[in-house]
């Protein structure tokens, strides 16, 4: 089977399918010619950027869900830099960037001001990469969660500090090569640790809504944004966004890699309310983790020149992580 075939099959059979197959009211926001284009064209993201794709879908869906009454707060990072090189901006919605670690708190301030000024119909989305979420912004995020401030916080997780040149973050997976976890020594790449499971941490705060999504299933991503905007209080959305630059992958493989992350079990896609998982997106066609890893240069040290697995010990440990996710979230259940 050539690598292209599963993708083709998926485009027919999944939510990523063409809108012509679904009723008009279920079509994507992006299919609507009158969509906001919250993040409009001309920005400076890399080719194949998962974050730019994810942010466009998230914000356009949020704009439609709030009837255009939306303010976005952005942490420092790729999304901030590639959209607003002064004096240009790609944002067609009110948008603010303050600092790297304070987006959750700035968003709290925006929501508080709207409440104080009698404008609580205007809603607030805060967004950050994984560094701004799980590392430097974690304290502020946990505070915002605990207070249940009326903010949807979206993490675009590309698993490292890409804007500064691909350094390890608290969300970098085991064995991945980054500029600070080089593919050297007996255990190349990022060490195996406990990981920082941000969706689980969000659930532990008892939030009204926590969801994960990938840029491979954009209908699903939009639906989760819409669901989140139906609710008040703190909500959390964790979006898996491949990064061709940092992952040393082909720009054309961004969607495929996102899909394989889910289909391998490495990235569980689910929704949770008040700390309990309420819906899981099941794996449709389970794949071994090497199918996912093999498309990415950051795992090249695990493979031989012919593409065969050269470090079965390490790949086995990664497979065990996927298997644990599958068991924990019931990803293979119908």
């Amino acid at each position: 089977m050539s690598p292209a075939e599963p993708v083709k099959f998926y485009q027919v059979g999944s939510f990523a399918a063409g809108n012509r197959l679904v009723p008009a009211e279920l079509r994507t926001v992006q299919a609507d010619a009158a969509r906001t284009n919250s993040l409009t064209s001309g920005h400076r993201a890399c080719q194949g950027c998962g974050e730019a794709l994810g942010a466009r879908y998230v914000l356009d869906a949020a704009m439609r869900a709030t009837d255009g009454k939306l303010i976005a707060v952005n942490a420092t990072g790729c999304l901030e830099v590639f959209t607003t090189p002064y004096p240009e901006t790609s944002w067609r919605i009110p948008w603010m960037h303050s600092l790297f670690g304070n987006a959750p708190a700035v968003a709290t301030g925006v929501a508080a001001a709207l409440e104080a000024r009698g404008r609580s119909e205007v809603r607030v989305v805060a967004q950050a990469g994984d560094g701004g979420t799980v590392d430097i912004g974690f304290g502020a995020l946990s505070g915002m969660f605990e207070r249940d401030d009326d903010v949807l916080f979206v993490c675009y997780d590309n698993q490292a500090y890409m804007n500064t040149g691909v350094q390890r973050s608290g969300a970098t997976p085991p064995a991945a090569r980054t500029a600070t976890t080089e593919a050297l020594g007996p255990e190349p790449g990022n060490p195996f640790g406990q990981g920082k499971n941000m969706p689980a941490l969000a659930m532990a705060h008892g939030l009204g809504y926590v969801a994960t999504a990938t840029v491979a299933e954009l209908h699903d991503l939009e639906a989760k944004v819409v669901r989140a905007m139906e609710l008040r209080g703190a909500r959390y959305l964790h979006v898996f966004v491949p990064c061709p630059l940092g992952w040393a992958s082909e720009p054309a493989d961004t969607i495929r890699i996102a899909r394989l992350a889910k289909e391998s079990g490495l990235f569980p896609v689910f929704e949770a309310e008040r700390g309990e998982v309420t819906r899981v997106s099941p794996i449709r066609h389970r794949v071994p983790v090497e199918d996912y890893l093999g498309l990415q240069g950051r795992y090249r040290h695990l493979f031989g020149a012919d593409g065969s697995v050269a470090r079965p010990d390490i790949v086995g440990r990664i497979q065990a992580l996927a298997d644990a996710n599958i068991a924990r979230y019931g990803l293979l259940e119908p």
């Binding site: 303010i71 944002w91 067609r92 708190a105 001001a113």
Partner: protein
């Protein structure tokens, strides 16, 4: 209305009268009484629809204020010492974004060693942040400065920090005429933001600026600060007309016109210095005081004018730039004509050490007699310092310096690592 009231409470009541819309609070001594009282006003419903947010850090406190101010809400917080340092990234950000946040700084020392008492190290640490920095001499002035601070901040679209000495002012109960709601309403117009996050008129705030424009952006921040000099005086005059008392302004001058020796200082020590000046004046000595109410922007012209006739200028500093000495005195030096005066820096009152009238009298006698070194440390026990220096030269692992000094002066007595118990 005149009442016997704690300084913190007087400030809190005044802030409430300014009708803030978002207040963020994180506890740090000696600022806590202020936000406690504002929080109670919000909780009671008296300040509705104001939002009072208990945040998880000072970094979040300033960040919430940033978001709220950018969304058009009058925003306030208070902090001190380590708290100011923890929020410092957001302090710079608020100024760069031109957000008219008002913050009370209950001045306190910075560790290590940890110390909760008063000095001005915290305010000095943010002197280049682009905030307007005002210093209150009394609790009356501390209260009044907050009304003026909101006015100034919103006129300029720049943040304003009101410094009041921790404990010396924040916890002192004295008579204060707390501005009434009606008077504040008449003085302080509603906040009209210069730029606001609004779906009806989408703007991108906080864009990245490269070498092509950054210098001009910073230059404009400098110009904005210079404009403040003028506005601060005008607001203080308008305040005097409305409230019948003088508070704020750039500098306060006390018996300085014909003074041979002029003392320059910030904050509540100016009051003590006025008493010392009175004593010396009775003895026929020509001594005067200049209180720097506006520290940033620095009132160069006002300082130059006020010191023009003096032979000597003594700057009392409640802060120290290690390796340099004075901080305020470098500003004073830059303000006065080069070579015209002898300027002495006197570091005093660090970490809450009392600055007594007696010590100041000795100091000013020395100043009058021309005996002051360019850098003096008031009431420094050199013997204690020398013992520690000798210990450091003797034993590599000679223990923690603060503990050794406390033992030397008899506060604690056990030192097993030195093999000596007293």
């Amino acid at each position: 209305m005149l009442c016997q009231i704690e300084g913190s409470r007087a400030v809190a009541d005044t802030v409430v009268a300014c009708r803030p819309e978002v207040v963020c609070a994180y506890p740090i001594t000696p600022q806590t009484h202020i936000v406690e009282a504002v929080g109670a006003a919000v909780k009671s419903g008296a300040l509705a629809p104001c939002q009072f947010i208990n945040v998880e850090s000072e970094f979040a406190a300033m960040s919430v204020a940033i978001g709220a101010s950018a969304t058009g809400a009058r925003s306030y917080t208070a902090t001190a010492s380590q708290g100011l340092l923890f929020m410092i990234e957001a302090v710079y950000n608020a100024s760069g974004l031109g957000l008219p946040i008002v913050m009370t700084l209950a001045n306190r020392a910075i560790g290590s060693p940890i110390n909760i008492w008063n000095d001005h190290s915290d305010a000095m640490a943010v002197r280049d942040s682009g905030w307007v920095q005002l210093f209150a001499e009394t609790n009356q002035e501390a209260a009044d400065l907050h009304v003026q601070a909101f006015c100034l901040a919103e006129e300029l679209s720049a943040p304003v920090m009101v410094s009041m000495d921790g404990f010396l002012l924040t916890h002192a109960v004295e008579q204060v005429d707390v501005p009434t709601q009606a008077a504040v309403d008449a003085f302080l117009p509603p906040y009209e933001p210069r730029q606001v996050l609004d779906p009806a008129d989408p703007a991108s705030i906080g864009a990245m600026v490269g070498p092509d424009a950054f210098e001009e952006v910073r230059y404009l921040v400098h110009l904005r600060q210079l404009q403040a000099l003028d506005r601060i005086e005008r607001i203080a005059e308008r305040f005097a007309e409305a409230f019948g008392r003088r508070s704020g302004g750039l500098v306060t001058r006390y018996r300085s016109e014909d003074a041979r020796v002029v003392v320059v200082a910030l904050g509540s020590i100016v009051g003590t210095l006025k008493d010392v000046v009175d004593v010396l004046r009775e003895r026929g000595e020509r001594v005067g005081v200049i209180g720097v109410t506006t520290f940033r922007p620095f009132p160069h012209a006002a300082i130059a004018e006020a010191t023009a006739n003096a032979e000597r200028v003594v700057v009392i500093e409640k802060a120290l730039s290690p390796g340099v000495g004075g901080i305020l005195s470098t500003d004073v030096l830059s303000a006065i004509a080069e070579g015209k005066h002898r300027v002495a820096t006197v570091v005093a009152g660090l970490g809450g050490r009392a600055i007594t009238e007696r010590s100041l009298l000795v100091l000013l006698d020395d100043a009058l007699a021309g005996r002051l070194e360019p850098l003096e440390f008031l009431d420094l026990d050199r013997g204690v310092a020398e013992r520690q220096l000798a210990r450091l030269a003797d034993v590599r692992r000679s223990g923690a310096i603060p503990e050794n000094i406390l033992r030397d002066i008899g506060v604690t007595g056990f030192a097993p690592h030195l093999g000596l118990a007293q």
